[in-house]
């Protein structure tokens, strides 16, 4: 429990640092930064390895936690008629299993809302697009932002394998046919000689808009349906972070004690750092969707 718990604490710090980008950089710049970061997190081999360690840690922490709780319940088959546990221990310390189970419920919904949609689901995931206003054009143009930093107009491009951008050859042929009609004499490229499906690049999954849409922003233009349950989602998120805070309030310093680290000089500091961690980390996690929600 202690080792996996402490590892998951480091995971929380990493995850929080990633999330903070959602509010610290704004506009198209911020959106790019976040989606690039998300791409890096899902493609870098070292991060991939780390993510598997995280999955295993979470699973082990859950299974071990349930097993220990069952053993502990068995150790006292008959309870006390009158018990005053508040006289000698904190609420958080006595309810780690309940808090952990609540976090597990949150984790399930959290992964279904974000992780599943972005990484597992076979449903089409909207890609990062932005609007440009060409000086002479009548209307603004929607562009894809690609991994190589290119801008590719949305029109005439089809998406394959989730993120790969290809020329829509049918539309291209139609356009050529139109041009042929308009200028009968002009020499036009022979379509049969061309690669009909040239890959133009790879787009970014627009996780930034997914998050903003989830917490109430209208991102229907980006392909995310408006979430009418945004406030409920926000409240659930904030409460879950409160639960996480209580879990960490006891868990952080408890992990050190379990590993045998107890020292007259260091333990008071470990406890203080643990309390700070328990307030700061879930607090900042909760602040991000609050900021997103009120700026909608």
């Amino acid at each position: 429990m202690a080792l996996t718990g402490l590892f998951l604490c480091t995971f929380l710090v990493g995850h929080l640092a990633g999330n903070l980008q959602l509010v610290f950089s704004t506009g198209e710049e911020g959106k790019r930064a976040f989606n690039e970061y998300a791409y890096f997190m899902s493609h870098n081999p070292a991060i991939k390895l780390l993510s598997y360690v995280t999955y295993i840690s979470i699973l082990f922490h859950i299974v071990d936690g349930f097993m220990l709780t069952i053993q502990n319940k068995k150790a006292r088959p008959v309870g006390y008629a009158y018990n005053k546990p508040g006289a000698n221990s904190s609420i958080a310390s006595r309810n780690m299993a309940v808090l952990g189970t609540l976090i597990l419920v949150f984790l399930a919904t959290h992964m279904a809302n974000f992780w599943w949609k972005a990484k597992v689901s076979s449903e089409k995931f909207p890609l990062h697009t932005y609007t440009v206003y060409p000086p002479m054009a009548e209307r603004p143009t929607e562009m894809y932002y690609t991994v190589k930093g290119d801008a590719i107009p949305k029109e005439g491009v089809i998406v394959k394998e989730g993120t790969k951008l290809f020329i829509d050859s049918k539309m291209f042929e139609q356009q050529i046919a139109v041009m042929k009609q308009m200028n009968p004499g002009q020499q036009l490229p022979d379509m049969s000689q061309m690669n009909k499906n040239p890959e133009l690049g790879e787009g970014y999954k627009d996780l930034h808009s997914l998050v903003f849409a989830f917490f109430g922003h209208d991102k229907s233009k980006q392909g995310f349906p408006k979430n009418d349950m945004a406030l409920a989602g926000l409240i659930f998120y904030v409460i879950s972070m409160l639960v996480l805070g209580f879990h960490l309030w006891h868990g952080f310093s408890s992990a050190f004690q379990s590993l045998g680290v107890n020292h007259a000089a260091y333990t008071p500091w470990i406890k203080k750092i643990g309390y700070g961690f328990a307030i700061l980390v879930p607090g900042l996690f909760a602040l991000i969707p609050i900021v997103i929600f009120i700026t909608k």
């Binding site: 150790a75 546990p85 000698n88 590993l259």
Partner: protein
Amino acid sequence: MATKFININLKIWRQKNANAKGSLESYKLDKVSTDSSFLEMLDQLNEQLINEQKESIAFDHDCREGICGMCSLYINGRAHGPDTGTTTCQLHMRKFNDGDTIYVEPWRSRAFPIIKDLVVDRSAFDRIQQAGGFVSVNTSGRTMDANAIPIPKADADKAFEAAACIGCGACVATCKNGSALLFVGAKVSQYALLPQGKVEAQERVVNMVRQMDEEGFGNCTNTGACEIECPKGISLENIARMNREFLFAAAKSE
């Protein structure tokens, strides 16, 4: 402090034997001196019960000066009652008010089965001790004077603090998990800190922990309740030391 007399109501766990189904029984006891100890109050109640031709209440006690570890009792939701740093025999009736209802229950743990009423079988602790709570020394012929080995004062003090454990079982009784780690931690520590205990340190911690698990005690979740309820003020530091000893021993074992 002038002696006062109070009238109290008691709810006491009665159970005929290990297999019988017990229940909380109500008793009324008048004219209890606030100078009497909690156990003397129970003596008074037993006299009353004997006079009424009823069966007296069985409870553990021996030295009645807080050193033997025999007395137990979960009083008003706390091990050894509302005071900290005391055993039940050191708890006085001046801590209670006239008209109070006092709940008295036995230690509750799978590893401490009830023998009768408030008496529980704590021999699980003896078996844990037997599994490793000793040092092997040559007792025949030319024995060595224990004081001939220099020991740093700080280590000696810590070992002594750990050895203050009287094995009453309050740690198990108060722990929400029924864990015996404070007891085992104290017993492991008192030897681990001293040079005489180093020889068997590795197998000691492994064997004692194994026996502890076999007895059916729960796991430690570091709530810290045991440290607060321990009549001898045994520190959680001893549990950490035991964890440390165990981790190293487990890593080194073949």
